[in-house]
């Protein structure tokens, strides 16, 4: 029988959402249209339309050593062209954001190639070749993994993940990179991810409503969503991992 990955434990819809996002066969629902130019603008690594800067000559112009792994693994477009490594970083609110740092790293590892994700408690960074990054970033921003109010594209000054939301339902941002238009409810980026003002605003659409967020979140939250302790299977799994790790700390000897 062929192996079928389980992706993760859990009986609640939060666990199911996690599995869905990690499964590369599940097509992520597209919720907003953000153009290539807009994604490039928000990331701020290069001017839209300008040439990609390179870190080394294209692979086709290089003398590569005879290596069986290089024959097995096809280089990504960015690696073939010798692009620089660039990054995008996200902050996700604890209040039912559709994705969260560990989840991001898991799903990116399942879905994308040639990436280096870095996970922290309130933010997650993914690094890769520039033109690959732009392709991946468009998917990360345009699909169900992103909410305009509860997910922030923030290269620095990321604080906000664990803070209460403001009266408009937006996650705190010291640099206020994205603002809500009170009349239309549309949220737009006015600064790039490191806080440099943009020449043109980038609209990322309206925030999702509370019902959608609750149904599609991958974050356990006992006050505003589904509590972690409501998921007996998840608790059992985490306790098993915890127990095994503690026991291994004492180097047990098998009889």
């Amino acid at each position: 029988m062929a192996y079928k990955p389980q992706y993760g434990p859990g009986q609640t819809h939060v666990a199911e959402n996690r599995r869905k996002q990690m499964n590369p066969e599940h097509k992520l629902a597209k919720l907003r249209e953000v153009s290539d130019k807009d994604v490039t603008l928000v990331m701020g690594h290069r001017a839209p339309g300008s040439a990609y800067k390179s870190a080394h000559p294209p692979l086709s112009e290089q003398q590569e050593p005879a290596c069986p792994v290089r024959k097995l693994v096809t280089a990504t477009d960015g690696a073939k062209a010798g692009d620089r490594i660039r990054y995008i970083q996200f902050t996700d609110s604890m209040y039912n954001a559709p994705c969260q740092p560990y989840q991001r790293s898991y799903l990116e590892s399942y879905r994308f190639r040639g990436i280096d994700p870095g996970t922290l408690s309130g933010r997650q960074i993914v690094e890769c070749r520039e033109r690959d990054l732009e392709k991946y970033a468009k998917e990360l921003v345009g699909t169900e993994l992103f909410d305009a109010a509860l997910t922030g594209i923030r290269g620095c000054t990321v604080h906000g993940h664990s803070l209460r939301l403001d009266e408009n339902g937006m996650m705190f941002d010291m640099l206020q990179r994205f603002v809500i238009d009170q009349k239309t409810g549309i949220i737009k980026y006015v600064k790039d991810q490191v806080g440099v003002p943009l020449d043109a605003e980038v609209k990322v659409g309206k925030a999702q409503d509370a019902k959608w967020l609750k149904a599609n979140t991958t974050m356990f939250h006992s006050v505003c969503g589904t509590g972690f302790r409501d998921d007996a299977e998840y608790v059992e799994y985490i306790q098993r991992i915890h127990s095994l790790r503690v026991k291994y700390g004492f180097m047990p000897k098998e009889a």
Binding site: G155, C156, T157, H159, L163, R164, L165, D166, E167, N168, F172, M174, L175, Q176, V179, K191, V194, G195, V196, P197
Partner: protein, 156 residues
């Protein structure tokens, strides 16, 4: 002179407050007799970007605005999340609760009683103010900053 026996409480709204709501809330708070000291707590909103590639650039923020509280104008330096209060007696709390309830129409709040403000000088306070520090001023402003507490006329 602040006595350590004065009770303290704090107002915790469910959401961070917009400047207009903060102004409405504080004007209601100061209408209650018996409030001695007050601190607005929350994450800071600096006027310039403090670090990162954009360091030094202006940081326009819609939550950093001037508000009018009583007869004083003050510029918010934080996105208000909690209001700490020192009060004359515990009897003030029900009056405070009744006064501020109309402000919170779209979301909830609660008032907690406890000890939240500084009552004794820390080492930094000692360096800045010396041995005879005015205890009413302790904890109201960062000793390293040049800003001073704002005094709002009492109504007693």
């Amino acid at each position: 002179m602040t006595e350590a026996t004065f009770p303290q409480c704090r107002i915790i709204p469910e959401r961070f407050l917009n400047p207009e709501t903060t102004e409405r809330l504080l004007n209601r708070v100061i209408s209650v007799p018996g409030i001695l000291r007050m601190v607005l707590n929350g994450p800071r909103l600096p006027a310039t970007v403090t670090y990162g590639p954009a360091k030094g650039l202006a940081n326009p923020h819609t939550m950093r605005q001037k508000i009018q509280v009583g007869d004083q104008e003050l510029e918010l330096q934080v996105h208000v999340g909690t209001v700490l209060l020192e009060i004359e007696s515990r009897d003030v709390i029900p009056a405070l609760q009744a006064a501020i309830e109309p402000v919170f129409t779209d979301f909830t709040f609660r008032i907690q009683e406890g000890r939240f403000m500084k009552t004794e000088p820390s080492l930094v306070d000692y360096c800045k103010y010396g041995p005879d520090a005015d205890k009413t001023m302790l904890g109201l402003a960062d000793p390293n900053s040049k800003s001073r507490p704002i005094i709002i006329q009492g109504n007693k």
